[in-house]
Amino acid sequence: MTPIESAERALRRSAVWILVSLLLLAGVYVRALVFTPAEVVQGLAQKIFYIHAPSAWVAFLAFGLVGLMSIVYLLLKDPRADLFAASSAEVGMVFMTEVLVTGPIWGKTIWGTWWTWDARLTLSLFLWFVILAYLVLRSAVHEPEQRARYSAVLGILGALLVPFIHVSVYLFRTLHPLPVVLKPGRPTLPGSMLTTLGFSFLVFTLFFAALLWHRYALARLTDARAHADAERADA
C-alpha cells in the first residue's frame, strides 16, 4: 500500500471513530443532564464540570504528547514525529480553548465573575499561550526541516515550563488567597456524579484520540501527496 493509500485509509477509519465518540459524548451529556442529580449549591451550572474537567485533562495530555514527540524528533530526526507533534498541538489547542471558554462560563454563574486567577485556569491560560506560540512559529517557518527543528525545541522548552508555571501560580495563590466563597475545582462527589464524570473522562479521551489520529492521517496524506508531486516533477 502506498503512503497515500495508507493515509487515506487511516483518514476514513479515524472518521468512523470520531463519529462513534461523538455519539458516546451525546450519551454522556444525556446522562449528565437527565440522569445525574444536580449539585445542591451550584445547580445546573455545575454540569459544565462534566465538559470542563475532561477537556482540561485531554488538553494537558495533548501538550504532554507534543513535548514527548519533540524529544523523539530531535533524537531520531523522523519527520513523522514532527507531524504527530504538530497534530497534537492543533487538537490540543481546540480543547484548551474550550477549557478557557467553559471555565469562565462556569465561574460567572457560580461566582459572579468571568475570570479568577484560579490555579488550574491560570496554568491553562499560559499553556494556551505556549501552544499558540508553537502554532505561530510553525506557520512562520516554511522549510520543513527547519520548522520541525524549531518546533521541537519550543515543544520541549514548553513542556519544561509547565512545572514552573504551576509553582508560580501555587505560590501566588497561597500568599494571595482568592476572595471567593466556593472552593473551585474538584469537589467531593457522590457516587452517580462520579460515575458520570468517569464516563465523561473516558469518552473525551476517546474523542481526543480519534481527532488526533484523524489530524495526523491528514498531515501524512498532505505530506505524501507533496512528495509524490515533487517526484513527478523530477521525472
Partner: protein
Amino acid sequence: MRARCAEALLTAAASPAADRSALEVRSLERSFGHVRALRGVSFALGAGDSLAVFGPNGAGKTTLLRVLAGLLRPQRGEVLLDGAPLARADAAHRRRVGLIAHYSLLYDGLSAAENLAFYARLYGVADRAGAVRRALEGVGLADRADDLAGTFSRGMVQRLAIARALLHAPSIVLLDEPFSGLDQRAAATLREVLMRLRAERRTMVLVTHNIDEGLELATHVAIQVAGRFAECAPVDGDLAAYRRRYAEATAARG
C-alpha cells in the same frame, strides 16, 4: 547522461604522492522537504587538485559546497578530509577549510583590521596582529585597515573576504560563485590569489554557473545538474568541448 561521477578517473588522475585523498565525498544526499538538492554526489581530490563544478541555478551546487564546508549535514553519505570523516564537532577539521563566497561573512560595522582580528581570534591564529597586517597587505588593503567594512566597494569587500578566508591558512579552499558582481580589477586579484593557491598545492572546489571563470584554474571539471554530477573529468585543455557538453547537459535538463 552519466548519473554518477567517474570516480576512478578522478582518483587515478589525483596526485600520485597522496596515498589518501585530501578531500573525498561519497554518495552525498540532501533534501529540503521534498526537494532533493543532492542525489548522490561522489568524487575524490588529491592535495593540489582544483575541481570546478559548473551547473545551472538550482542544480544544488551551493548545497554541495555547504555540505563540504560543514555548514549542512548530509542525510546520506559522508565527507572525508584526509581520510577522516568530517565530524562537525571537530574543530581541527574546521580549521582546515576556508570559504570564499559571493557574500562576505564580514561585519559592516567593524573595520577591516577588526574583522580580521576577530576571525584570527576564533581560529586561534598565532601572532594575531602580524597575521592581520600580512593578510591586508596580501590583498592590497593595508592602507584601509581602519576603515569600516561597510564603506568598502564590492571589489574591496571581496578582497577583504579573501583575506578573511585565508587567514588561518586552510588546506582546503571552497569557493561559491566568487566572481559574481566583481569588477575587472577585483576579478583579476581573485584570479591571482587562486593561481597562487594552486601553486601552493591547496585543494580547491569552485562552484559557478559561469563556465569561463573556472576552466583556466581547474585541474578537474564536473557538471552538476539536478543534484548529480552529469559529468566529471580532468581538464585536458579542450575548453570548447567542455562548453559544448555543458550546454548539452543544461539543455537536456531544462
